[in-house]
Every structure is written in structure tokens, then in C-alpha cells.
């Protein structure tokens, strides 16, 4: 079994799972019916992508691994998602800022992964690009609407961007497994995506009359499994059914 490949898949898939879970929390709680439906639609896309990745990982792991054991039965330290996606839905501005900051990265990652020498990953990426382009359009649009909206919406989206900015640098960090996968032409070299990312993000912020934060120190740890205080609560909520009723099915 190629452990580096499994770890690499977790690094990508866990982002989709955890952000999907966060968006799913908004089901029935969105600020309006349209945004509620949009957030849960995106959640569904991300969970669908997660399933494809985990099914592949389960196949590599063999034995009794399934997409469900990977999703629901790992411990906190075994999840390799970035800190950004686990941040809570503090308010609508935070949910949109988190989505926007992730979408821009996600789209460029999948565009790279589409050319992976691993056929399965390339196929999942090709499919995902179509969905994530749509997410990017939605979140960028809302950044503009909030930024260029009322004083209140402007201040709140600026606050959310300022707060979440500290998690953006980690998107481009590479684990040892990532580096091996890059040399084998399976993984995407995320360090090369960084410059274009900040350029794209700044362009949308500027258009939205928002400031691009300037920061020297960034938070990291998610990729090593060292998560923020929010992660435990998220997992407790997400894993509850499988922990309480092992192997349950709908």
C-alpha cells in the first residue's frame, strides 16, 4: 500500500469533508432561503467529492476500510484538513469569507490535480472543477455584495476576512507525503499556486472596496493533525451516530 498516496488523499479530501460538514450545519439556518439552499448545495458537492476520494483511499487501504470508516472513525489527529475549513459559522460574513478564501485555492488545486499521473485523482479533479467553479462564482459574488453593500455589511465582511486571513498561508504548506507525491507527478506543488492565489483574492477584495490584510505571522497545524479548538466539537457532532451505533446504515 502506498501510504504517501493515502496521506495525500486525506490532505485533499479532509478539506472537502470538514468544509462540507460546516456548510451542512447551515441547513435550515441560512440567512435567506436562497443562500440556505446554495450553502447546502455546495456542501453536497463537497461531500460527493469526499466520497470519491475516500472510496479510492479505502481501496488502497484494503482490509475493512470503507469510505465510512475513513470519514467517521478516525481520531482528531488523523484528520489532515487545513485550519481554515474547520472555522465556525460565526455569522454569514464568516461563512462567505471562509468559502471564498478556500474556493480560490480549491479551484487552482483541482486544475493542477487534473493533470495528475494518477488517473483516479485526475478524474475526481476534472469532475470537481465544474462544481468548484460554480462555488467560486457564488462566494466571490457575495464578497462583492457584502463589501460594496451597506456600511454594516462592509465592516462585517472586512472583519471576517481580517480574522480568517491568518489561516490562508497554511493552504500552501506541504507535508512530507505531499512532497513525495509531487516528485512522482501525482500531487500538485502548492507552493507554486501561492502567488496567483493572493493576486486573485486581492483583485476581488479591491473590487469589493475591501482591504487586503497585511500579516507577518500565520497559523498552521491542521495538515499535521493539530487542529483548532473548534475541531473536537465538529467531530463530536459529525461522528456521533457511527460512534453510538457502530455500522449503522440509513
Amino acid at each position: 500500500m502506498n501510504n504517501n498516496l493515502v496521506q495525500y488523499i486525506y490532505g485533499i479530501a479532509d478539506n472537502a469533508l470538514i468544509l462540507g460538514q460546516r456548510l451542512g450545519e447551515l441547513c435550515g439556518h441560512g440567512p435567506s432561503l436562497e443562500t440556505d439552499i446554495a450553502m447546502t448545495n455546495m456542501s453536497l458537492d463537497l461531500l460527493g467529492q469526499t466520497r470519491s476520494y475516500y472510496q479510492y483511499a479505502a481501496q488502497l487501504l484494503g482490509e475493512n476500510a470503507t469510505e465510512d470508516t475513513i470519514a467517521f472513525l478516525r481520531r482528531e489527529r488523523e484528520y489532515k484538513n487545513v485550519l481554515l475549513v474547520e472555522q465556525p459559522n460565526t455569522d454569514f460574513a464568516y461563512s462567505i469569507a471562509r468559502q471564498f478564501l478556500f474556493d480560490i485555492f480549491h479551484l487552482s488545486l483541482l486544475e493542477g490535480l487534473k493533470n495528475s499521473e494518477d488517473e483516479t485523482l485526475a478524474a475526481i479533479a476534472e469532475k470537481g472543477i465544474k462544481e468548484v467553479s460554480y462555488h467560486t462564482r457564488f462566494s466571490s459574488d457575495w464578497i462583492r455584495r457584502l463589501g460594496d453593500g451597506t456600511t454594516e455589511s462592509h465592516d462585517r465582511i472586512q472583519a471576517a476576512i481580517d480574522d480568517l486571513w491568518v489561516y490562508t498561508d497554511e493552504l500552501f504548506h506541504q507535508t512530507d507525503a505531499d512532497k513525495v507525491m509531487v516528485t512522482e507527478n501525482i500531487g500538485v506543488d502548492t507552493t507554486k499556486l501561492k502567488e496567483a492565489y493572493y493576486k486573485k483574492v486581492s483583485a476581488v477584495l479591491e473590487e469589493s472596496t475591501l482591504n487586503t490584510p497585511v500579516m507577518e505571522y500565520f497559523q498552521k497545524g491542521g495538515k499535521q493533525g493539530i487542529h483548532s479548538e473548534h475541531m473536537g466539537y465538529l467531530l463530536a457532532d459529525m461522528q456521533y451516530m457511527q460512534r453510538a451505533y457502530p455500522n449503522m446504515n440509513w
Binding site: 466520497r51 485526475a122 469532475k127
Partner: protein, 166 residues
């Protein structure tokens, strides 16, 4: 129907044509373009389908419905999911597009027009109820992952628009 299916036994196609998307019952899975290949080996019919969207919950139901449809005819079918090449709305057949319109769902436009329509720049989506182009986007996301919500400003009916996916 896609080219690779044209050599398939008519009887098998007829059975596949009886299976529809549970969310859009008027649209058969053949007209939707999700059936990618059909192979018969040792009396077992192997069918490959592709999801419209990664998270589409209808895929599981469609897989089960295919197996059931063949079982009713005394045949055994195996269904697998293929991801590449990724599904596009271009694979919906002309018949499928007509069925969508009749059902009250506006069929997907071209990629360029879709973008203009979803950004609200141009009025390009036709109301399936009254045929007016005086329609407006209510929400980029609709009742299912594949649709956006529009409203006709002439007859005032809200309706779904099947988003273009390329």
C-alpha cells in the same frame, strides 16, 4: 443517446430507457446521458453510469432502479460508477431537452449564454410556462445541485433552470 451505445441490443436499451431520474421523472437516464457503457458478459449485464454532480444523491437510486428493471425482465445487471470523462449537459439528448421543457424545467443554454444568464447580465432563459424571455434569476442554486431558480416576470411563475455544466 451517445454514440457508444448505438450498437447495443435494442431490448437492453428499452429496459434502460424505462429507468428515469427520481428527481426528474420525465427524463430517462438515456436521455440524460448518464449511461456510459453497456457490456454483456456471461449473461451479466454490466452498466457504467456517470454522476451529473459528485454529490448527486439520485445516483444510488438510479443504480438500484437499473438493477430492479433488469431483474423484472429476468436479467442480472451490475452497475458501476465512472467519473471520467465528466458528465456535461451537452449529453442531454434533444428529446431529453424537449421533455425537460414540457415538465417545466428550462433546458441548459450554451456555456457562454449560461454565464451571462446566471450573472444576470442578459435575459436568455425562456420561461417554460409562457415562453417569455422576461425572466430573472432568483438563486444560482435551486432545488437540486443541477438547477438554478428563476422567475418569469410576465406570468410570475417561478421555475427551475437546468444549469449548463461543461
Amino acid at each position: 443517446m451517445t454514440e457508444q451505445l448505438q450498437h447495443i441490443d435494442k431490448k437492453l436499451l428499452e429496459i434502460l430507457g424505462s429507468v428515469s431520474d427520481p428527481e426528474i421523472p420525465v427524463l430517462s437516464i438515456l436521455d440524460m446521458g448518464v449511461v456510459r457503457s453497456v457490456n454483456v458478459e456471461n449473461d451479466i449485464i454490466e452498466i457504467a453510469i456517470t454522476p451529473t454532480y459528485s454529490g448527486c444523491p439520485a445516483m444510488d437510486a438510479i443504480g438500484d432502479d437499473i438493477k430492479k428493471a433488469f431483474k423484472e425482465k429476468g436479467m442480472e445487471a451490475k452497475v458501476s460508477l465512472v467519473l471520467a470523462p465528466a458528465w456535461t449537459t451537452d449529453w442531454i439528448t434533444p428529446k431529453g431537452r424537449a421533455e425537460l421543457e414540457k415538465y417545466g424545467i428550462a433546458a441548459p443554454l450554451s456555456a457562454e449564454a449560461d454565464k451571462e444568464a446566471l450573472l444576470g447580465n442578459k435575459k436568455l432563459v425562456k420561461c417554460p410556462q409562457c415562453g417569455s424571455f422576461n425572466t430573472k434569476l432568483i438563486s444560482q442554486f435551486g432545488s437540486t445541485a443541477c438547477k438554478a431558480l428563476f422567475q418569469c416576470q410576465d406570468c410570475l411563475e417561478p421555475f427551475d433552470y437546468f444549469k449548463c455544466l461543461k
